[in-house]
Amino acid sequence: MKLELRNIDKSFGEKKVLKNVTLSAEGGKAFGLLGRNGAGKTTTIRILMNVFPADKGEVLLDEKPINYDKVLFGYLPEERGLYPKKKIIDQLVYFAELKGMSHSKAVSAVDYWLDRLGMTEYRNKRLDTLSKGNQQKIQLITAVAHDPQIVILDEPFSGLDPVNAMLLKDVVKEIISKGKIVFFSSHQMNYIEEFCDSIAIINGGQVVLSGDLREIKRNYPRNRLVVRSLQNEKIASEYEGSVERGENGDIIIVLNTPEEKKSVMSKLTETYDIDEIKVYEPSLNDIFVEYAGDQI
């Protein structure tokens, strides 16, 4: 299963929100959509879910235009909210039924998920009697109870404590392992890094970087060495002019070419007392700041 957005344009009035956006996500893998606030993530998701049509471009599933009557989407919106005054079981069943489930199937699916997320005791409570984190777990059920093929999670981890974040991670891993397409949108890079095989960074309505996350990282120039040593100052003075300060007092030596790497590494380990030396790989955070930092 492969979901693609091709050459999507969208304007609201005079404002061009999306410019020629092309993305693709595969089943059994998680896709991460990154972007700063207002970059066009939510608009992309809404076009993907057919809330409104694109001005130009198409949404394809397995190379064919997607049939919204057949494909089921699960959606956890960034703006969370259900019916605060309604009984939890009633509204969860209602949402599952709207997605086409029969009443009895909806009830059993909702009960399964309430149990899975440890929320069974709140089954007959009103939503507004729950804490914010627990309300978020209830909202997650609306995204998964009807067994959708495509699950879209917009900032799923915000507001969860570490235990609940763990629980959600397990759920997400389980959904991915079932071969479904999971579409993440988040600012929390560590989660994206953990789950997503491929990413797209969207900035000012344009995709500025997309592809396999590992490849993106590997394609970064491998001409930097991270060195951790008690003799940092000495090393720094020897390589003056090509040294950057890293985190935790590490120093980063920038080489003229990646090929010098081997000789410099062996020279350093022979001359100094080195605790650790490795080729610098950028974190997703660094990549994000580099590509999305400048403009909106």
């Binding site: 409104f52 989407f73 959606y75 259900l82």
Partner: protein
């Protein structure tokens, strides 16, 4: 889509009928109507207990003094006035004008007629009330005395004279159309109910939509269901809930009326309301439902463009104004007695005003079946058109947050969607 509509309808309907406020308001109205309808019976029970000590009020009638130029005239006028002013104790004054004035000032007498002759008088009264028509009555009595006297002088006997003056005229009314007097009260009641109910339930739809939007449940709903299914589901669910409420209120009123038929049968207004012909009631239902639909669709669309619940009241103002204007036109033409004015005819074809205007014309005048058919057809077509349009506005509106959107930008967005 149809399945979704069914689910939404069921969910929204259940919301209403399990809502404590909804149940409370319905019961309150039923209780108020019960109170009014049973009031005479209850009053009777107390009256029976109290019947022994009702005081004799005949001695307490206010005093009216008369005085004329001669004693005979004074006596004749007193007799004639006593026969006419039954709520006064009419006496011939035994003093002069100053004495009469003093008696009125002191409260011994309430008013006095001081006659110079049988055709000229001065009326003295302590406080001239707005509703004091004593002089008009006195004019009539004096005029008739004068005429009888004139006829008697002309050679008739007093009996002949009074027979001439009070010759009875036999008149019969054959109404070939509709009796406006009789229809006025129930038409008025129904129009008022129509107006209230349509605006009230329209407002409910607007609030319902805006609540979903402000609680952000909309984010999920809009990706789960088709806007058209949502709009129609909500509007029809509210309509059903409204009908149930109306049936409960009017049904219990009818029941209580029948239970207390002995007390209310004599009351022209009340028995006119309950004596409404069944055919008219069917028209009432048709116009209620169509009028409600067109209004609620508009209200729903407006509710979807509001970001905050507080904004709704100002946003729905234009539609409310059209309704109020229609209501005014209808009520004024009803009280003027002519419901077939050009304005009313025009109003009875314009979708927003036609439920009230056409219903009034059917109830209080004779309207051909073609005119009624045309009005209903226009209304049905407009309901469908407005329904589809409002679903489009809804689809665009629910995703607009922040500032109140301008009408122009909403229209643009709707055209594009």
């Amino acid at each position: 889509m149809v399945k979704q509509f069914g689910k939404i309808l069921k969910f929204e309907f259940k919301n209403y009928i399990t809502n404590k406020v909804f149940i409370g308001v319905t019961l309150f109205f039923v209780a108020v109507i019960a109170g009014v309808m049973f009031f005479p019976s209850i009053k009777d029970i107390f009256k029976k207990e109290d019947s022994n000590n009702i005081p004799d009020v005949s001695g307490d009638l206010p005093v009216m003094l008369v005085i004329s130029d001669t004693k005979e005239n004074s006596e004749a006028v007193r007799e004639a006035f006593a026969a006419t002013f039954t709520n006064y104790e009419v006496k011939v004054a035994d003093t002069d004008i100053e004495g009469v004035k003093a008696q009125i000032a002191s409260g011994e007498a309430e008013c006095a007629f001081v006659l110079d002759s049988l055709t000229s008088y001065t009326y003295y009264v302590n406080n001239l009330s707005m509703y004091d028509n004593n002089t008009a009555i006195a004019d009539e009595v004096l005029r008739s005395i004068y005429r009888v006297n004139a006829l008697v002088q002309g050679g008739f006997t007093p009996e002949e004279a009074s027979a001439i003056l009070t010759a009875p005229i036999e008149g019969r009314i054959e109404n070939l159309g509709i009796d406006q007097m009789q229809n006025f009260f129930y038409t008025y009641t129904m129009i008022f109910a129509l107006y209230m109910v349509i605006l009230l339930y329209g407002q409910m739809v607007a609030t319902n939509v805006a609540t979903e939007k402000s609680s952000r449940a909309m984010e999920l709903l809009i990706t789960s269901a088709k806007p058209t299914a949502m709009m129609f589901g909500k509007v029809i669910a509210t309509c059903l809930a409204g009908l149930i409420q109306i049936v409960a209120i009017f049904g219990s009123a009818l029941l209580f009326f029948n239970l207390n038929g002995d007390y209310w049968g004599g009351n022209a207004i009340v028995s006119s309301i309950f004596g409404m012909p069944a055919g008219l009631f069917v028209y009432m239902l048709i116009f209620f439902i169509l009028g409600y639909f067109i209004c609620s669709f508009m209200f729903g669309a407006i509710g979807s463009t509001a970001s905050k619940l507080e904004d709704i009241n100002t946003s729905v103002m234009p539609i409310t104004m059209i309704f109020v204007a229609g209501f005014m036109v209808v009520v004024f033409s009803m009280s003027s007695g002519n419901v077939d004015t050009v304005l009313m005819k025009v109003c009875s074809y314009i979708p927003f005003t036609s439920p009230m205007a056409m219903f009034t014309r059917i109830a209080m005048s004779t309207v051909s079946i073609y005119e009624i058919g045309a009005s209903i057809a226009i209304l049905v077509v407009s309901v469908i058109g407005v329904g589809i349009l409002s679903a489009k506005i809804y689809r665009v509106g629910v995703l607009l947050y922040g500032n109140k959107p301008k009408i122009g930008s909403v229209i643009k967005a709707v055209l594009k969607a």
